[in-house]
């Protein structure tokens, strides 16, 4: 069978896309659709699961299998799906409120288990669908409808959180940069296990220009740090570099250090400490901020391990026989063979493969 040949249109549904005009979600949707078309994999093998929020409408617009579920629970639902069907490519679409607030528990547990899920978190640092409350990634001091005097909540750094949960693949990208987004999607797709991608996504209605330091024509050259595997970490047209000092990443003038001292990015480093300190270079999209793959390491995927146990059990014990199973705790027979109705001994027990 030859691989199907798709265009972006094959992954568009007949449903009208209903995000606000100018929303970053449109760009991400286009990136994902183009990426899916590029794979040449039958589209019935993809499932998109979302929670609640603006981003969560995403599955309605992708011509694959999909489920728009309940707030925060998409990783749990997707875990059941992926565990039951490791043959599928399962994607979770979520937002900063959905993934980090109401669904924080499911996110960290999916990541630590390393379930074969590709989790794309649209981070706009605001609650959009409920019309503008601060989110768990909003900066301290942010004035919103629910924080008129400024938010006093310290925000999460999503990449740090994912690394802290022992995620095996962690990346960050920007809605505006379709090529970079598709590159991250491709790497996540190739990764066996959980992949977490934080997408900085502009909400032009409730939190416009939140990422201007990374997307603005003037600003981005100074602030965007591209992490490229195997390459020294330099930015701002080579004038700035990242070095490790006392185990901590630090931005320095390139000219002030020996080029050999510049940190060479290694996304496959088994220990997450360096990836973590890179994630601490900024706490939000302010000032020099890394994008790209922070971590990409191998660890057994949960769904593969679960199914391997099932196969191993079948191999060792044979397919189960339910009639043997229900007779495995010892039986007695009442019948013509024992007219007094007394026991004529046990059966089952150790003969049964189902006995522990």
């Amino acid at each position: 069978m030859t691989a199907p040949s798709y265009t972006r249109a094959d992954f568009q549904t007949d449903q009208e896309v209903r995000w606000c005009p100018g929303c970053g979600d449109y760009t991400i949707l286009a990136s994902v659709q183009m990426f899916l078309a590029s794979l040449g994999r039958p589209r019935e093998e993809f499932v998109f699961i979302s929670g609640i929020g603006c981003a969560a409408r995403f599955p309605y617009y992708v011509e694959t299998y999909g489920m728009h579920s309940i707030h925060g629970r998409a990783p749990a639902i997707a875990t059941g799906l992926a565990t039951a069907r490791p043959d599928l490519s399962v994607w979770v679409i979520t937002g900063d409120g959905d993934a980090l607030s109401i669904g924080g528990n499911h996110l960290i547990h999916a990541l630590r288990r390393n379930v074969n899920l590709k989790i794309i978190m649209f981070n706009n640092q605001i609650y959009g669908l409920t019309k503008g409350q601060y989110s768990p990634t909003s900066e301290v001091g942010k004035a919103t409808k629910s924080s008129p005097f400024g938010s006093v909540d310290f925000p999460f750094n999503p990449v740090s959180l994912a690394l802290g949960a022992d995620a095996t693949f962690v990346a960050r990208t920007l809605d505006m940069d379709r090529n970079h987004t598709q590159e991250m999607l491709q790497k996540a797709y190739e990764h066996e296990g959980s992949a977490f991608i934080e997408v900085y996504q502009n909400c032009n209605v409730f939190n416009d220009k939140a990422f201007i330091q990374l997307t603005g024509k003037e600003e981005r050259v100074h602030n965007r740090i591209d992490l490229v595997h195997g390459k020294p970490i330099v930015f701002d047209e080579g004038s700035k570099a990242v070095v490790l000092r006392g185990g901590e990443a630090e931005v320095v003038d390139s000219s002030s250090v020996d080029p050999k001292a510049i940190l060479v990015h290694d996304e496959t480093r088994p220990d997450p400490s360096v990836a973590f300190t890179l994630s601490r270079l900024s706490h939000g999209p302010y000032g020099p901020t890394p994008v790209g793959v922070f971590r990409n390491v191998k660890r057994d995927a949960y769904d593969i391990a679960v199914n391997a146990q099932v196969e191993a059990a079948k191999e060792k014990l044979g397919p189960g026989d339910i009639n043997n199973l229900i007779r495995s705790h010892g039986t007695w027979t009442v019948g013509p063979a024992s007219p007094n109705g007394s026991s004529n001994g046990k059966s089952g027990g150790s003969d049964s493969p189902d006995q522990s």
Partner: protein, 624 residues
């Protein structure tokens, strides 16, 4: 070893034949009373008695030793006829310490047999139990047969050459008690010996110690002629066939596996540990060779979420918990109802609200099961009637879930979960298959797939699983347009969809058996006692007793609580009096009154223990 015991001659002590017998083992949580009770039960089951058990244990794993909260007990009734309950009052009580005696003595039948471990009756333990004076030395036990055995000392002596040491020495004293009970009640010893050898095959010194203690207990009875007579209960004349002794959680797990085979679907169980439902997870997780996948989730919400994912994937999806966990799952259950995917939700009820009485039975989640969701979300609700019934009801829940594409609530409770009874084993090959028809091709114009185009008979929507070419579609919690499944905010559509979902579930009434009346062959009973869930045996026994007193009493038991059987209204209206005993404050009573405008009477108890037969019998006698 077994032969040594069997040849030890108990015949010097005369034997009294009984038709039934209630025994309770009671001791500290760490004394191994559940194990002793289960071994006594299995020996009796293999001997051929009918039986029923009622374990009772504290919520604390090890409450402070010697205290009243730390007392754990196990009651079993054995009989030579078909009994229905674990019995009201023990004929024989084993008390391993003063706290066990203090807590259980009031239940012991007047003149019954009491076996005590005298070594535990020291001043400290007596004080902990609240005794001012030693009941073994004052007059408080006059009128009872008391067998005093220094079990600590005799166990130490018995196991001294087996290689166990330290704390392990006294851990065998439950086997001493069990040996003494085996002598006193003529129980076969081989099943216990065989069980010990298998269970402790990897710890031969522990096996040797337990066998030695068991033999020492047996020999203690023979040598001291501990009572003036021993007791025997003949095998019961049960229906012909092969039996096993099974508890409700095990039967439920096996029923789910059977259902997955009957439907030819992999079984997925997504859950979070909670008492008393966890044993379903434990049992299922052992049987991966049946294609069972168990998922111990990070919380209850993920438990139901994972099951929804597995249902979408085309598995037989099940989640299970107890009351507080079901509360957490509520949003997910409503989503599944909206998605119209098949799922079984097991609720092993316990005393509530909140953490309540986690190890005690109650039936207080009925209204919660029927109505405890946001929005209009009626679910089929089924209730298991006894431990072995769990097997059949698991299959029934799967049948309805798959056929009607809906989550189904399956109620059990702690009494069913941990109680056991003989089960006449079915030939599973003869159980009808559960038909599954996955959608495989387009059902709309121009090759489109319409996920909410319904089956004309069941009103179930098609089950199209990911991976099926051409049927890509999206489902979700937002209201769907009828037929197309597209998101719709249209007022008339919401009315239509709400009515359709409700009708689909109500229509299941035409696909379930009529409720059957028991004990009214002549059609002249004055009262119908209606029950649901674990009160089944107690209600039947109470009615049977009333009939022996010449009263005309009928009973009926509901396994389907939503929708209710079609004939229920007619049945209820044909009796002058209706009594509904429930372990809650009147929940089925409320439903029956609301549905049928019938002035039924309730008998209600929420005391953390099941009804006694006497309690229901007295109410019946008061009403007729």
């Amino acid at each position: 070893m077994a032969d040594d015991i069997a040849t030890a001659d108990p015949s010097t002590t005369p034997t009294e034949e009984l038709d039934q017998l209630v025994i309770r083992f009671a001791g500290d949580s760490g004394d191994g009373m559940q194990l002793a009770g289960n071994r006594f039960t299995d020996a009796s089951a293999l001997f051929g008695n009918d039986l029923a058990t009622l374990p009772s244990f504290p919520a604390e794993i090890r409450a402070p030793a010697g205290t009243l909260p730390g007392v754990s007990s196990f009651q079993v009734q054995i009989a030579d006829f078909d009994i229905l309950t674990a019995g009201d009052a023990p004929d024989c009580l084993v008390a391993m310490n003063p706290a066990a005696l203090m807590k259980n003595f009031k239940d012991l039948r007047q003149g019954g047999t009491l076996i005590v471990n005298t070594d535990a009756f020291d001043e400290r333990n007596l004080a902990k139990a609240g005794y001012d004076s030693n009941p073994l030395e004052d007059d408080s036990l006059i009128g009872y047969r008391v067998i005093q055995a220094p079990m600590d000392e005799l166990t130490k002596e018995a196991v001294k050459d087996t290689g166990v040491s330290g704390r392990n020495v006294l851990r065998s004293k439950n086997f001493f008690a069990l040996g003494l009970m085996a002598w006193l009640f003529h129980r076969p010893t081989e099943p216990t010996i065989e069980w010990v050898e298998k269970k402790f095959a990897k710890k031969p010194e522990v096996a040797a110690a337990n066998k030695a203690a068991f033999q020492a207990g047996y020999t203690f009875g023979v040598a001291t002629e501990a009572t003036k007579n021993t007791f025997a209960v003949k095998p019961a004349a049960l229906e012909e066939g092969t039996y096993t002794n099974v508890n409700g959680n095990t039967a439920l797990a096996w029923g789910l596996i059977a259902a997955s085979q009957k439907a030819n679907l992999p079984l997925f169980y997504g859950t979070y540990p909670i008492t008393p439902a966890s044993d379903v997870l434990h049992e299922l997780s052992r049987h991966k060779n049946f294609g069972v996948r168990t998922f111990q989730a990070e919380d209850e919400i993920a438990g139901v979420g994972s099951a929804i994912g597995a249902a979408f994937a085309g598995n037989l999806a099940v989640t299970g918990s107890s009351g507080p966990g079901i509360a957490l799952k509520s949003e997910g259950i409503s989503l599944c109802f909206m998605l119209e995917l098949p799922m079984i939700v097991i609720n092993v009820q316990r005393g509530g609200p909140s953490t309540g009485l986690p190890t005690k039975p109650e039936q207080s989640d009925l209204l919660f099961s029927l109505y405890g969701r946001h929005g209009e979300a009626p679910l089929p609700v089924l209730a298991i009637a006894s431990p072995s019934d769990a097997f059949e009801m698991a299959i029934e829940a799967a049948r309805l879930a798959i056929k009607y594409m809906t989550p189904v609530m399956l109620l059990s409770d702690n009494q069913i979960a941990n109680g056991s009874e003989p089960w006449l084993l079915p030939n599973v090959d003869e159980i009808p298959p559960i038909e599954v028809r996955f959608a495989t091709k387009a059902n709309g114009p121009d090759g489109t797939f319409l996920p909410y185009m319904r089956n004309i008979d069941t009103f179930a929507r098609p089950w199209a699983v990911p991976g099926t070419p051409g049927l890509e579609h999206r489902i979700g919690g937002l209201e769907k347009e009828s037929i197309s499944g597209n998101v719709s905010y249209d007022p008339n559509n919401h009315q239509l969809m709400t009515d359709t979902r409700a009708w689909k579930v109500a229509n299941i009434a035409n696909d379930i058996p009529d409720v059957e009346v028991d004990g009214d062959e002549d059609g002249d009973a004055e009262i119908l006692v209606l029950g649901w869930g674990s009160t089944f045996g107690t209600i039947r026994a109470a009615a049977r007793r009333a009939r022996m007193d010449g009263k005309k009493v009928a009973t009926a038991h509901l396994r389907h609580l939503n929708p209710l059987p079609n004939n229920l209204g007619d049945v209820l209206r044909s009796y002058d009096k209706i009594l509904i005993p429930e372990m809650n404050t009147g929940q089925l009573l409320k439903v029956i009154r609301a549905e049928f405008l019938i002035d039924a009477a309730g008998l209600n108890k929420v005391a953390g223990e099941p009804f006694k037969v006497t309690e229901i019998n007295e109410k019946i006698m008061e009403m007729v």
